[in-house]
Amino acid sequence: MVSIRFHGRGGQGAKTASRIAGTAAFLEGFTAQDSPLYGAERRGAPVSASTRIDRKPIRERGVIARPDLVMIADASLIPDPSARVLEGVDERTVVFVNSPLAADQARAQFSIPGRVTTLDLTGIALEHFGKRGAISALLGAVAGRLAGLRQGSIREAIARELTDLGLAPPVIERNQTVAARCFEAVQPVELDVGARQAMAVAQLRAPTYEPPTKGTAGITAGPNSAIRSMSGWRTFRPVLNPELCNGCWLCFANCPEGAITIKPDGKPAIYYPHCKGCLDCVEVCPTDAMTVERETEAANNT
């Protein structure tokens, strides 16, 4: 069995990429299973998805604990402990990172124990689509290539999955074309899917009763969202050009994180530590005063 785990941020297309890989394998006659995991839907929040491919019936469910291949759509997830991107990764695991960095650089910078491959999917998407958007087709194509699937089945899988999402045929075609380039830009690797060591019998713990102060699900530590930085969630950042701003406050009203405040002069200001890069403010700005800049791995610490 080949086990592929995808990691991305809500809106990037990790779930769809996982489905593209699953559908492509299915079309080639494999037994396939794809299964996403996300919490309360929130753009920018960590998302993972698992695709399993085998010749035999798949007797597994849920998140892949020991992946053969990890597909990382957003490198900013790697240091986030809640995203568990490197869980179960060891030296035999193949790890793909969507990054302009070279494989060795990425391996060193993110301390990845596995065999690393990189490609700047975001840069390719910007170049060919001319705008920010989901990279599901590109990520799915690279996953398929690394897992040894055929280009034709991936092309068909992209059509099926993007049609399901309601995309127009010309958009789907463009995705197929760019995905084919990504497919060719990556070399297939030998996945080590050999026998695993059996797990030891679990030591079960019989919980004892604890007083309600401990045993009740509650938080008394007070508001803590102020100290939670969401800078790492951004692939892109909104930037305000005050010259073009007409002071309509639509960005302020639409920011889902309350990261935009109004200054005494009536103009908005973005508080970047709470900005998750959803770019809703850019969408609603009537005067194009909000522009978009791509974050780089090293720079988005503000």
Binding site: Y209, E210, P211, P212, T216, A217, G218, I219
Partner: protein, 416 residues
């Protein structure tokens, strides 16, 4: 505090429930009317208005809101009472589980009424037993006196730091709710001794100290821990109930067990029942004993936590046991029968036959003749060594009336 101060008066089960809340000196009563419960909240609203009860009474827009208000008020550290029935309980169902997870002790009285459809007003226990897995403790009462006493005990058990779960006290609609019988009203000073002021360490909202109850947890292990704590808390209720029962007897002279044994000592066959119809069951036991049959009755009083050991003790070594469920799980049978069977399974001396009877659905009477049939079939099953059921208690005569109704409802109109 002495027992002489206890005076008795004629009162309905509903009035007895209101008295329970009054004596518990509750702070907050969210209410919503529903037959056959309305008299409880009506009485309490009157007492709140007259100042006899020093509580805030609020009418909510539904039972869902009512139960949310009850849980939220209890989370502030207030002592809360509320009541509902049947469809109302089901409307509040989502919130039952939610507030139980908040570990907020308050008392909810449910006046049992069979569930739609078809709609009716009279009792069976599909309403209260549907809530058996919610995390609420459950005490089921046989008499109006027991309704009042159980509310006081329920507060004491629910508020104990070893438990801290909400509690439900159940009484049968009509057969108790609207039925008057003599009830001793406990001395309020003695009740204050029995129920000290509610001071929960883990509850109490303040504007200056915000807190979140029941926040989101993902991944399953954190959830497992908290849900299992609820199980342990409910199981602690068995011991806490016993302690409360001892103290209650000391102060008021009445003793309540987790289960009640009626003429069990030499009984070879045992009938298991709950709630008001257990009175009829006891009369049936007396009648059968007059004919020389060695039968007895086990009344289940505390349903959650499930007193498995007490039930095993009472039923082991019997020839046959008949569980009379006043409920029906379609596609399964009697609800309590399943739980009794499970807790007897590992007993060394489990009864030779375990029989399941379904009776009193929608408040249908269980006649003397039907009880005779139950005892007869149970004795035969015991002699044979194999159980039977589920057997519906529903007579030939009743079916003739049913056919007449079907004729009126269909054939007469269509002229067939």
């Amino acid at each position: 505090m002495n027992k002489m101060n206890q005076t008795s008066q004629m009162m309905t089960g509903n009035l007895a429930a209101a008295w329970g809340a009054r004596l518990a000196d509750v702070d907050y009563i969210p209410g919503f009317p529903i037959t056959p419960q309305t008299e409880i909240v009506e009485t309490l609203s009157k007492w709140c208005d007259s100042g006899e009860v020093n509580a805030r009474f609020v009418t909510l827009d539904s039972e869902h809101s009512m139960m949310t208000a009850a849980g939220a008020a209890a989370a502030t550290g207030a002592r809360v009472f509320t009541a509902t029935s049947s469809q109302g309980l089901l409307h509040a169902f989502e919130v039952l589980y939610t507030v139980a997870g908040w570990r907020v002790p308050f008392v909810l009285v449910n006046v049992s009424r069979a569930l739609a459809s078809p709609i009716t007003l009279e009792p069976d226990h599909n309403d209260v037993l549907a809530a058996r897995d919610s995390g609420f403790l459950q005490i089921h009462a046989e008499t109006c006196q027991e309704v009042l006493d159980s509310i006081l005990m329920a507060y004491r058990i629910a508020e104990d730091p070893r438990v801290c779960l909400p509690a439900m006290v159940n009484l049968d609609g009509f057969y108790l709710s609207f039925t008057r019988e003599p009830v001793i009203v406990p001395d309020p000073q003695a009740v204050k001794t029995f129920l000290p002021p509610f001071r929960p360490a883990h509850l109490g909202f303040k504007g200056s100290a915000p807190r979140a109850l029941g926040p989101a947890v993902f991944g399953g292990s954190v959830y497992s821990y908290f849900r299992h704590q609820m199980h342990l808390a409910a199981m602690n209720g068995l011991q806490v109930h016993e302690e409360a029962a001892v103290e209650f007897e000391r102060l008021f002279g009445r003793r309540y067990g987790l289960v009640e044994a009626y003429k069990l000592d030499d009984a070879e066959d045992v009938l298991v029942m709950t709630n008001a119809f257990a009175s009829k069951g006891k009369a049936a036991v007396d009648a059968a004993r007059a004919e020389g049959k060695r039968v007895g009755l086990l009344r289940l009083r505390v349903i959650r936590p499930w007193p498995a050991e007490a039930i095993r003790q009472a039923l082991q070594g019997r020839r046959a046991v008949a569980v009379l469920d006043q409920n029906l799980a379609p596609g399964q049978g009697g609800i309590l029968y399943q739980e009794i069977a499970a807790c007897l399974y590992h007993g060394a001396q489990r009864p030779r036959a375990l029989c399941s009877f379904i009776g009193g659905l929608g408040g249908k009477n269980i006649s003397e003749g039907e009880f005779r049939s139950v005892f007869e079939q149970t004795a035969e099953a015991g002699a044979r060594g194999t159980g039977i059921g589920p057997v519906l208690l529903y007579t030939e005569g009743e079916h003739r009336e049913m056919e007449q109704l079907q004729y009126l409802a269909h054939d007469l109109k269509t002229g067939k």
